[in-house]
Symmetry: D2
Subunit: 255 residues, 4 copies
């Protein structure tokens, strides 16, 4: 069986400009995630904002099965042409996993059509993620819940379409709740939003978080990869109605 071709995309700015972040993720969050989910069946590459075409050239996108996305302070710097390219590929079947502050990324808002707004607070409080779908592929190996000792808080109302299958709901120490794992399908592609991962905490070293991301990659890999077309189609049955525009009828496709 061929390997799943994964690209982990990271904005990769905080790690360069914030000493506290650099201390936790010296090679970037994308590298930490790569190391954490590395496995025989995955072929993982990295890409980031400041590379040419953000590291997402047509060649790279065309050879990607699942794209993981982390962005925060520079969403607006992502070129709309690259967003178009990624959206097209997702609709053709590529999986997309959006992490944490990626909720406000151009690509996530483009795919869902909503604001993706929420409440937030950063005081390093405790988060407990409840596993709402124990029979979903994404939660295999995860218990009834798991705890992150320090995280940024994201609270409801999360402005997203309600057809997201709710995989996790978070409890926050400060009194809020959040739909922290949401699974969508758009076109032929699967999309998973996963809440945790603020840059100032070592969340991407947590074994449960890595387990979820790894599971999500397998879940989101393409079943098919197909171009979308909008074809004119010949009739499959004899049409007896007279077309008022032409005065003729009886058209039928030769098979």
């Amino acid at each position: 069986m061929s390997k799943i071709r994964v690209v982990i995309w990271n904005e990769f700015r905080h790690e360069k400009t914030h000493a506290a972040v650099k201390a936790i993720y010296p090679a970037g969050m994308h590298q930490a995630i790569k190391d954490g989910i590395a496995a025989e069946d995955l072929d993982i590459r990295l890409a980031s904002l400041d590379e040419p075409e953000h590291g997402l050239t047509q060649e790279v996108v065309d050879s990607t099965d699942v794209l993981i996305w982390w962005g925060h302070c520079a969403h607006h710097e992502v070129d709309d042409k690259i967003v178009d390219r990624v959206q097209k590929r997702v609709l053709e079947g590529m999986g997309l996993i959006v992490l944490h502050s990626g909720h406000f990324s151009k690509i996530f808002r483009r795919m869902l059509g909503t604001n993706c707004s929420l409440l937030w607070r950063e005081v390093g409080e405790k988060e407990r993620l409840w596993n709402i779908e124990p029979s979903h592929p994404i939660t295999q190996g995860i218990g009834e819940y798991f705890v992150l000792p320090h995280e940024e808080m994201y609270g409801e109302r999360f402005d997203v379409p309600q057809d997201g299958k709710t995989i996790f709901i978070s409890w926050f120490e400060g009194g809020e709740v959040f739909r922290s794992g949401l699974a969508y399908e758009r076109g032929h592609g699967k999309i998973f939003y996963f809440r945790p991962g603020h840059e100032t905490y070592p969340t991407y070293y947590d074994k449960n978080v890595l387990k979820v991301i790894g599971n999500a990659v397998r879940w989101a890999k393409p079943v098919i990869l197909a171009k979308h077309i909008c074809p004119k189609s010949e009739p499959l049955e004899t049409i007896y109605t007279i077309n008022p525009a032409t005065g003729s009828a009886g058209i039928k496709q030769e098979v």
Copy 2:
């Protein structure tokens, strides 16, 4: 009770350039729809592509409860800024009713995030629309099905998110089927896609079609109209976890 403020937006090009279309809709399809759904509880205005800002100035959009959209050959001429404006208003609560070839409009694809592609054929064949949800507000007054003697064919697969509630499914004489009425919610707004309405047939004089559009206007009117914000939020409970970044804890909102 105040009236529902409706704007019917029409590309309004075919009616000027095609004699056959002009013969059917001398004042435009938007005018025919306005005449057909006119009622005491509705305050209806018209807008079209070639007006300044396509007739959808900030003032117009801000005073609209439900926007009806018909476009076909000039989707690409619609200014992205106007699409942004309309999308923002829908997410705030405005209803949006997209008709027929509007499936490929910028605003519909923006709201749903998918290609919205389909099969099509124009030979004036018979269409029968089956009422799948007889207890939905949009189908009140509509029987088990209704027939349009001549229509353009749209066939599956229709590339849209599956959370659309299927209100109608069409049978076409040439052998295809189509989800012809789909009801979505995005942000605080409701969206209804309604398939019929090719410009070369008198579809917008059909009493069932007009009944559905009129019902959809009442269904789609805003429950609330609210700006989307993404606020920083103070804790509602005492937080005992020590923030590793600051060394402090115990923050609680004063109520």
Copy 3:
């Protein structure tokens, strides 16, 4: 406009046998809810388990638009024939509002098909219900969240179908979360599950809880009331295929 005919059904056992419950609800929880939601547009009757046919005779059910259900310790005493009768009426269009421990009632499990199991604990802890759908009719007049100072805890995983629209998510002081307001449609009827209401707390005097129940009654009232049939149907189009069983074809319904 005619009034909405509401029946509030209560098991009505705890109030007779537990002094602490009787002290809070001397005339029963159903009476407290009736008093709390009383309004011009509602015609409210009461019914309870120990009445003949549990107070739900064919005549009562046939004249009910919305049925509210509270049960706990005696679910098994509810006669299956009455459950059949109520289910049939819901599928015909009657609204059903299931409260708190009614999650394990025969009628709720019958309507949803699942176990409806959950975690639970009764230590009188604080519950905060987050309003996830501020534009839904059920949440009108409710703020971003509301707090109940003492409640029984219900925690996820709640074993229910995922097509329930999530209206509220609860945060519990002890660390759990719960989808506390869920809106379903089955047949022509609407169903709303609302979590709060343990018998040892004065929850049904809380103004937010009463507001939600009152809103739910208006939301759940029938759009139509229709018998379900499964009719043999004559063809609507000429059938040219030869029926191998009869050797004939060309059947068409006379209209």
Copy 4:
């Protein structure tokens, strides 16, 4: 990898009493399906109504991963205790594939909670099934559509919950449409309804029909098999609220 343990359950009455049916399916429809989907990864057994406990003893059900169900004239003869047993197993994770007239079986109605009524007609007309979800596991190997030359007609409105993912929509020669492939999840189990298969036509020899059933078996196999419980749960966080019933607080689970 262990094999998927499949049981094909057939009412198996028509094949004994109707010569025309016996001529098509001399060993029963279940045997034809077994022969048609036989593969290395499947361990297939047969069961039928007139066996003790309908062939679905506790031992058989407990060792089944996916149950396929065909019934028609004798739904009412299926023992409610066996229906309870199957429902419990589906909620624990077993897959359930319901064929054709099984729409009115006790088990399907039990799982969905609705009437599952529809229109019907038996004149051997042509059916075309459109593939609505080309990227779903159930449609792999199926083209844009496939045709059955003779089938019983089932028409909308099909009274089922709307959370069924629509995999196929049928076009019938006589003018009707039908959601012919519907995928549900209930508890930990997956359910697929597949419309074709009237006993008087050789539908279960059709290669597309068999391909769909075989795909559905792989899709519906359990991800987990877990008993449902409804446990009392100790607090995970310190509770500071004083329980009015006991006057105490501060309970916390020892981990």
